[in-house]
């Protein structure tokens, strides 16, 4: 197991280097001179002289490969540049907003599990019944529903009409319910479907037939034998989903004015606060990579076939 983990970690090094290169290339896409943006945001008239000085200050006058290595050296020392707007370190800005996003995502994830596990299990056990059909409809609508619309529909129905939840803001758990539900629905639909398919596959296995032949209780068979195996693909999808939910929070946070990273990054884009945008992509990519590493390790623990590389 130790060897498996070490191998996985070593294989991350080229990916992380690639991500750093990608992040660096992204800033080269900026159609205007970042030095000029910096000066404008600092309310300094961008004269030729001022631009030249700022370019030297930001290191923009050096050849690209030197700029990259300079930047990489700073990134390794956890220096991700300074926000053009707030003049604070870019990573500090992101970390300030991150807890709110994390809280939203965590609550959403709980909702995803609460919805998808019972729906997935029972729609597989009662395949082709009315319940299964209703679940199918739910997964179809859930996967096609634009979260930015769902959010407003929920606000309108549950907050404005029924007055059950506060509309905007944060603080209490009640504030979290609507944004978390909005963020959760799409993933809940995907998970329900995944779990249903995986349950159905396991139901057909010989070990289930054998367990039945041994006269085990149906509930025991479902929980111990079918569900336990059916959850493996769900766990594999977990890292991906969490990453996508962190990304999807951009839209939900903007709908609900939730003060997280997603809402901040959109205003950073409008303000042309390039260091913050750059730090954001690096930050999210590293989180995504680490999440997938974690999932790989958990799957390795759950299933020896994956750990030994037999499961191709």
């Amino acid at each position: 197991m130790g060897k498996y983990i070490i191998n996985r970690i070593i294989s991350l090094i080229p990916v992380l280097l690639g991500i750093s290169l990608l992040t660096f290339i992204l800033i080269q896409l900026v159609p205007v001179d970042p030095a000029e943006v910096y000066l404008r945001l600092s309310q300094i008239p961008p004269t030729d002289e001022a631009v030249a000085i700022t370019r030297a200050e930001l290191g923009l006058d050096k050849p690209l490969y030197i700029q990259y290595f300079d930047w990489l050296r700073k990134v390794v020392q956890l220096d991700f540049g300074t926000s053009f707007v707030t003049k604070k370190p870019a990573m500090e800005v992101l970390l300030y907003y991150f807890p709110a996003t994390l809280k939203l995502t965590a609550v959403s994830l709980v909702i995803v599990l609460l919805i998808s596990i019972p729906l997935g299990v029972f729609s597989a056990l009662y395949k082709d019944t009315v319940f299964d059909q209703v679940c199918r409809l739910f997964t179809f609508i859930g996967a096609s529903m634009p979260s930015f619309w769902l959010g407003f529909v929920l606000i309108y129905l549950l907050s404005l009409k029924l007055d059950l939840f506060p509309v905007y803001g944060r603080g209490t758990l009640a504030h979290l319910v609507l944004p978390a539900l909005t963020l959760a629905l799409g993933s809940a639909a995907v998970y329900t479907r995944l779990l249903r398919t995986s349950m159905l596959e396991n139901l057909k296995q010989y070990f289930v037939l054998y367990a039945r032949a041994r006269g085990l209780k149906e509930r025991l068979i479902v929980v111990r034998h079918i569900l336990k195996n059916a959850l493996i693909p769900v766990v594999i999808a977990f890292g991906m989903t969490l990453g996508h939910m962190l990304a999807g929070s951009v839209i939900v946070e903007n709908v609900f004015a939730w003060p997280g990273v997603g809402r901040h990054i959109v205003s950073a884009i409008f303000n042309r606060d390039y260091p913050v945008i750059q730090a954001y992509v690096l930050f999210m990519a590293v989180i995504f990579v680490l999440l997938n590493l974690m999932v790989d390790i958990i799957c390795g623990l759950l299933d020896p076939k994956i750990r030994l590389g037999w499961d191709k």
């Binding site: 990608l22 096609s144 930015f148 951009v250 950073a268 990519a285």
Partner: protein, 277 residues
């Protein structure tokens, strides 16, 4: 071709027909918007704002007195049109890169596939958002960003197909006969992979529409006054309390179209999987 027979069989499925009908109607409404739309979608008239449905404005007007039905119709053109453009460019780029990678092999293959690994290591919504952020908000930049992120998925699939095709006897015979590689690719490889790729692309059109309208909702895509469903939702959100019906129109359109594409995609996926096995 056998695949075509299977695709014909699809037309017997009721849900497929329903989704094709919805998509066909929306597509026609968008394509014929300049002829059929009752009003100019961008004409601002403050006297007629927030009007209820009536003879002149069949679905009423928005906060600037613009005809909602006309905006929805022109919006269909923008939403479906930009999603199709994204897909066509994505397929062309990924067909070139995937084929090159699979056929050439060696360091070209390694370099291209490692590039794919890196792009796949970032959640695609994050990467799209950041590319738009760097280039600046506009529909063209959204299209560029979507293509830049999407091609990777298809390029990998195409590479896999090319790798297995390369070993097939008809390609080997062509090589032995001295056919130049470009001719083998055009004559023998492309005709075998393009139908699959088109089907795969249809599967993803719903997702592409969701992303484009999502970015427009954030204000990063289509810029006012151009009518687009996501942007219309963004306009309507401030009037949620007074005129909730305004968010219903564009939202329902997005849901209907995306759901139709997903239903169609599901049916197509069954055909492909069945065909492959």
């Amino acid at each position: 071709m056998k695949l075509q027979g299977k695709l014909k069989g699809l037309l017997q499925n009721k849900l497929t027909i329903l989704s094709l009908t919805i998509l066909g109607l929306v597509f026609l409404a968008g394509a014929l918007a300049p002829v059929l739309a009752p009003n100019d979608p961008t004409l601002v008239s403050l006297e007629s704002k927030f009007m209820s449905p009536g003879a002149q404005f069949p679905l009423g007007t928005d906060h600037l007195g613009r005809c909602i039905l006309s905006r929805l119709m022109y919006g269909a053109m923008v939403s479906l049109g930009s999603a199709l453009i994204v897909m066509v460019i994505t397929i062309v780029i990924s067909a070139i890169i995937g084929t090159l990678s699979g056929y050439a092999g060696g360091w070209v293959d390694s370099l291209l596939m490692r590039t794919c690994d890196v792009i796949l290591a970032v959640p695609n919504l994050v990467l799209t958002l950041v590319i738009v952020g760097m280039l600046g908000p506009s529909l063209v930049n959204v299209i560029i960003a979507m293509v830049a992120v999407q091609w990777v998925w298809y390029a990998r699939i195409i590479r896999g197909m090319v790798l297995s095709l390369k070993e097939r006897s008809f390609i080997l015979s062509a090589r032995v006969a001295g056919t130049p590689p470009w001719l083998i690719i055009i004559r023998h490889i492309f005709p075998n992979i393009i139908p699959y790729i088109v089907v795969l692309a249809t599967l993803d059109l719903g997702m592409v529409i969701l992303h484009i309208s999502g970015l427009s909702f954030l204000g990063l895509g289509v810029q006012p006054p151009t009518p687009e469903w996501g942007a219309m939702l963004n306009d309507a959100k401030q009037f949620l309390r007074s005129d909730p019906i305004l968010i219903m129109y564009p939202g329902t359109m997005i849901l209907l179209v995306v759901m139709s594409f997903n239903l169609l995609g599901d049916a197509l996926r069954d055909v492909i999987e069945y065909h492959e096995s």
